[in-house]
Subunit: 221 residues, 2 copies
C-alpha cells in the first residue's frame, strides 16, 4: 500500500490546513520545510515543528535553501528591501521570491520520487492572495506535467492544491472544522514575536478571520 | 540590450560546449554550477572554474545543493551504491539523481528572472546518453512552459538545449570547431585524478572520441 503525500509546509495557516486535509484523506505525511533565509525563518521553523508534532508526522525534511539569500531580489530575503505595509496592491509585490514554488516543488518531486509518494500537497491560494505568479493553478498543473515527464516512467505524481480556489475566510472555517491548531501557525512576513498586522500576509489573514467571524488566536502588535 | 544567457555548467564536455555555443551566438554568459555532493564534486568544480576563465565569464553562481546527499538514492551521491562499470544498459541507471535537472532548471530560472536573462542553456543529450528521464527534450520543453507560467508575466525564458539531438561524436567534432578546451572538461562519475574509462559517462565520452577519430586529451587509468 502506497499512500504517502509529500506536504510542503511553511508553518503558515494555508499549508498547515492542506496537510491536515491530506491526513484526513488517509495519507501518511512526509513533511517538507524550507529555510530560505526569509525574515521570519526561525518562527516559521518552530511553527512547522509544532504542527508536525500535532500531526504525529514520522518523516520530515528540513531543507536549507540559503541560495535565496544570495539571489536576493525580494523583500522577504533581502533586508535592504522594506516589506510593504500599506495594503495589498495589484501586480506582483516586492515580497515575491523568484520562482520559489518552482524550486520547492522540484525538490518535493525529488523527495516524492525517492519515497514513492503519489501526491505532493502545496497550500497555494490563487484569489485572496499576494498575487504571486507561482501560486496560480495553471502554473501548478503545468509543473505537475513537467515533473511527470522528467522523472522515471513508473513515477506518477499528482500535485494537489486543496486551497487554491478558497477565500481566506473559507480557509479559517475549514481549519476550525478540522481542529487545525491555528495558534501554532505564522503568517507575518516581518516579525517573529508579535505579528505586525499590516504586511500583505497579515492583512489577508486578519481579513479572513474577520469575515469568518472568528478571533485570530495569535498575538499582534 | 538584453542578451544574457544563464548557462548551467557542470564542468563536463556537453555543458561546456553548450556555453561556448551561447557565447558564439553573442550572449553574455551567467555561469551556474551546482555542488551536490556528487563523487567528483571537487574535480567538476575546478573544471567549471577553469572553463569560466577561458570563456572570460563575468558572472558566476556556485550553488550548494547538499540536499542531494541527504536524499541519496543515486550511485553518484550515495557512496554505498556502486557506480556501474560493465556498460550502458537499457532503462534508468542507478546513477540517476531524482529530478536533478528539474531542480537545476528551477534554480536557473530564478537566477534568469533576477538577472533579466532571456535564455537558459542546458547541455542535455537525449540519444547517446545514460537514459535519464530529465534529459529528454519533451521534458525540457514542458519545464520551459511551467517556468514561464510560474514567473512574472514580463519574464520570458527560453530553455535552449543545443546538443539534445547530437551524437557524442558530433559533440566532439563541434567542440573542436569552436576550440572548446576539452582537456579542461571532466565526465567520469567515479574518479577525480584519472578517469576510470569504464563508467557509463566515460564509455559514452570515449566512444564519441573514437567515432570522431580524435584522441581524448584527458588521462585515463
Amino acid at each position: 500500500m502506497n499512500k504517502k503525500a509529500v506536504c510542503i509546509m511553511s508553518g503558515g495557516m494555508d499549508s498547515t490546513l492542506s496537510a491536515y486535509m491530506m491526513q484526513e484523506e488517509g495519507y501518511e505525511i512526509v513533511a517538507v520545510h524550507f529555510n530560505y533565509n526569509q525574515r521570519t525563518q526561525q518562527k516559521e521553523l518552530s511553527c512547522f515543528e509544532a504542527v508536525c508534532e500535532k500531526l504525529n508526522v514520522k518523516e520530515k525534511y528540513v531543507l536549507d535553501m540559503s541560495f535565496f539569500k544570495d539571489l536576493g531580489a525580494s523583500a522577504l530575503t533581502d533586508s535592504t528591501i522594506d516589506v510593504p505595509t500599506t495594503g495589498v496592491e495589484d501586480g506582483v509585490p516586492v515580497t515575491y521570491v523568484p520562482f520559489r514554488n518552482g524550486i520547492f516543488l522540484s525538490m518535493a518531486a525529488a523527495i516524492a520520487e525517492k519515497e514513492s509518494a503519489s501526491v505532493i500537497s502545496i497550500g497555494v491560494v490563487e484569489e485572496d492572495s499576494s498575487g504571486y505568479p507561482d501560486c496560480r493553478e495553471s502554473y501548478i498543473l503545468s509543473m505537475q506535467n513537467a515533473i511527470n515527464l522528467g522523472t522515471k516512467d513508473e513515477t506518477n505524481i499528482e500535485i494537489t492544491m486543496p486551497l487554491v480556489r478558497l477565500k481566506k475566510s473559507q480557509i479559517v472555517q475549514k481549519s476550525l472544522e478540522l481542529s487545525v491548531p491555528l495558534e501554532l501557525t505564522w503568517s507575518c512576513y516581518k516579525n517573529e514575536e508579535k505579528a505586525c498586522g499590516v504586511c500583505d500576509s497579515c492583512r489577508l489573514r486578519l481579513n479572513g478571520f474577520k469575515l469568518a467571524g472568528v478571533i485570530d488566536p495569535i498575538s499582534y502588535e
